[in-house]
């Protein structure tokens, strides 16, 4: 989609299009992308997984009484997510802690690696985040039906509300339930993509001599904000997963 925009913008003052950074292209020549083609998305996803593995495996291999820097980072990340799952989903949510921890580490490392200059942000693509969100949505729905059977439908029937209001509320609850995977995925991809596009727009202004100091200052400021957003969006994605998990474990309203 970004290539069409590039064609439309030909002849404007921008030397590059702000959406060009999101183009998926094969690494080893050629232009066609098949399902097996190794693209820049594949490369940066693999680097994300390598980084997560390196932190967790190397960090915990020493197991010293006084932790090294790597070990304390790994322990901090583990403890942070563990406490989040325990606080939000309750004690019985801890069975699903490994999956939630994997999600958090993958998203936070993908976001932070995407902030490196010339890199590619995998989480800025809806295709990636929709898969993550759909996995959570399907997993939580199936888990709810397996654990509670038809009682899981009580999630939509607000028994504390006055009688005539309940069918209306049920419709609203069902709509909000099915919007969950949409907002869950679009929030992450939208935030990351919008932030990176804004940085590129300011970078385009840097070519004009009169405004280039302002635009460089703006890039520095936006970059600081993006570091914050990279972490907060991973946190929000994870904590919403915990909230949905809590609904599946305790569906009574």
């Amino acid at each position: 989609m970004a290539t069409e925009a590039h064609g439309a913008e030909e002849g404007s003052s921008l030397v590059f299009h702000p959406m060009d950074q999101f183009i998926v292209k094969p690494l080893f020549g050629g232009t066609e992308v098949h399902w097996y083609t190794i693209t820049n998305v594949t490369l940066w996803m693999a680097l994300t997984i390598v980084a997560v593995l390196a932190l967790m495996v190397l960090g915990t291999s020493g197991k010293k009484q006084v932790p090294s820097r790597g070990q304390s980072m790994a322990e901090m990340a583990y403890g942070f997510v563990y406490k989040m799952v325990e606080d939000v989903s309750g004690k019985d949510g801890l069975r699903y802690f490994p999956y939630i921890f994997t999600l958090f580490m993958f998203i936070v490392f993908a976001n932070v690696l995407g902030l490196l200059p010339m890199s590619f942000t995998t989480t800025s693509h809806f295709a990636v985040t929709v898969v993550l969100a759909l996995a959570v949505f399907l997993g939580v729905t199936i888990l709810g039906f397996v654990l509670h059977g038809t009682h899981f439908l009580g999630l939509f029937w607000v028994s504390s509300a006055p009688g005539p209001l309940r069918p209306v509320l049920a419709v609203i609850e069902i709509i909000s339930y099915f919007v969950r995977p949409v907002s869950h995925s679009i929030r992450l991809a939208g935030n990351v993509m919008a932030g990176h596009a804004v940085i590129k727009v300011f970078a385009g202004f840097a070519a004009i001599a009169a405004v280039s100091p302002v635009s460089i200052l703006a890039i520095v400021g936006m970059y600081g904000l993006e570091v914050l957003v990279a972490f907060i969006q991973a946190y929000v994605f994870t904590i919403l997963t915990c909230v949905y998990l809590k609904d599946a474990l305790h569906p009574a309203h």
Partner: protein, 78 residues
């Protein structure tokens, strides 16, 4: 003069979706402001409620991101 009226309408529509950003700004600001005023009244309870703060912010912000999605759909899919 070139281009057609549909193209014009498309770009005006994309520009109008920026209004959604203002709505999201008010929503997120409202959440943060109310959290701060509550937290200053009872600082000991504030730390336990930061998760709720971020969930509230995420929900308010999601609707702003939806307007961004509408802009993207208008630009590239319509």
């Amino acid at each position: 003069m070139e281009g057609d009226i549909a193209e014009l309408g498309k770009y005006i529509g994309v520009g109008l979706t920026a209004i959604g950003m203002g709505g999201a700004a008010m929503g997120v600001g409202n959440v943060a402001g109310n959290f701060l005023s509550g937290a200053l009244r009872n600082p000991s309870a504030a730390a336990s409620q930061t998760a709720t703060l971020f969930i509230g912010m995420a929900f308010a912000e999601a609707l702003g991101i939806f307007s961004f999605l509408v802009a993207l759909l208008l630009m590239f899919a319509v």
